[in-house]
Symmetry: C2
């Protein structure tokens, strides 16, 4: 029986989920998505792999997963729908899933595509409204309301010190046997037209709670509780400190995951699997 | 006792409200705001007037209200806060109100300012995601998910026929003794970078359910159920028809209300009050 690998792009409001990964008895995105796939494909059990295992309360607008399906199962599930089987699958999933998870697209990809190990980079956004004029009840589930004004110029000066290939141990929850060496290629803050401050961060991968620790560090600098050099000091020290608060999950969204083109996939997979198989991505 | 008139700008997520206007036993925005003002100002009863009385489920990002307060009551309510009394009031209100209502600003205005009768125009937005790629769970409470693709070029051609000073009876729920003559100065659809279709409509005022009827009419044209000339036909006929569906409240947001400058307020008030005192604004 020939199997095909399917890539699915999806979004979720993390507010009412205990994160991505399966946890017995708790509502998680992985559990809901696997259950919906089981119903859509009429299989008792479906297993998926994702690009970024988000924590409790964290949102995603560009989560990517992959799964393998026997070709005849996929075709049979589409029934007589007048669209390709993957398009029929998208419609079915959106009909089965609760409204806080939406599927954008499903497509057949090369067998070498791996949602986790093929990823070249992940982009997260963290959103903060730091003045009453910017508070918006319509976006309150994914924008943190902050009671004091933030100085973005100072935060950006501090953020520049955190770029590059570094050991981010100070900003990670420790995991045994895992390195915290990551390459951060973008880290900056900007305001949108309503005044909401958004941090954009891009890295090859992130260790556990790294983005929220970076935010916690920069918020302390932005409201003047810490000096602009504090971020660099923390990074250099390379040990986890309780001085850095982990910012609320509410403001954090996984926005996009970058992959190589199809013909570069095989090479990429070998490199990453060897390097990171023991680690949190 | 000298009274001052206060203008307050606020936003709300209308999902869990039975609209703006007071209704015994139901949760309404007016009731919540008046209760919060009563607590903040330590008055048993506070009455406010708003720019646009939104229906059940309709949202607002730029609602405007006014109220009158004795100057000494306002000053006393601020206590020893190191900010002007109106800024202290904003902080207090945001502390008292549930998170689905947020106050942006409060300021003292001329006694001639009237949130309802001084308004020159109201701007509403209606948002529709008409393809899985544009579905976003993070904005699902104020963006309608639509199962069929919309042709915005055709909708804009039809919308152009609805502009100007017209009798909008075909698009209004009838009210005894009220005219449905309105001046619509803008009505068009555009897609944002994620593909969400947004209709923007600006008019001097709107009759009851007018925006949602305009949307219902244009959605039927946009998905090909009706011809592009149907909107103009409906307008010309000047009688309410059940052919026009009233679109869901979910996608509708009152975005902004325009007012004259302070020195033009007195003249404006006399004109509008004479013309519209019997009507829904």
């Amino acid at each position: 029986m020939r199997h095909v690998r399917i890539r699915i792009d999806l979004s979720y409001d993390g507010s009412n989920f205990h994160g991505w990964a399966l946890q017995p008895g708790l509502r998680t995105v992985q559990a809901e998505v696997q259950r919906a796939l089981g119903v859509a494909l009429r299989r008792p059990e479906v297993w998926v792999t994702c690009a970024g295992r988000t924590d409790t309360g964290v949102h995603a607008r560009g989560q990517v997963i992959h799964l393998d399906v026997a070709e005849e199962v996929l075709v049979a599930s589409a029934g007589r729908a007048p669209v390709p089987p993957v398009a029929a699958l998208v419609r079915k999933l959106n009909g089965i899933l609760e409204p806080d998870v939406r599927v954008h697209e499903a497509r057949v990809v090369p067998a070498e595509f791996d949602a986790r190990f093929s990823a070249l980079w992940r982009r997260y956004a963290y959103r903060v409204a730091d003045a009453p004029a910017a508070y918006d009840p319509l976006t309150r589930h994914h924008v943190l309301h902050w009671p004091r004004p933030l100085d973005l110029a100072t935060m950006n000066a501090a953020a520049a010190d955190l770029l590059g290939l570094n050991d981010y141990t100070s900003f990670c929850k420790a995991r045994e046997g895992a390195t915290a060496i990551r390459r951060v290629t973008r880290l900056d803050w900007a305001r949108d037209e309503r005044g909401v401050a958004t941090m954009t961060v891009v890295a090859d991968a992130f260790c556990h709670s790294m983005v929220r620790s970076l935010v916690g560090c920069l918020l302390a600098i932005g409201e003047g509780r810490k000096d602009v050099t504090w971020a660099a000091d923390m990074l250099r020290r390379a040990s986890r400190s309780s001085d850095i608060h982990i910012a609320s999950a509410r403001g954090l969204t996984l926005e996009e995951v970058g992959y190589p083109s199809d013909d570069e996939l095989a090479g990429r997979l070998l490199i990453t699997r060897a390097r990171r198989s023991q680690e949190e991505l």
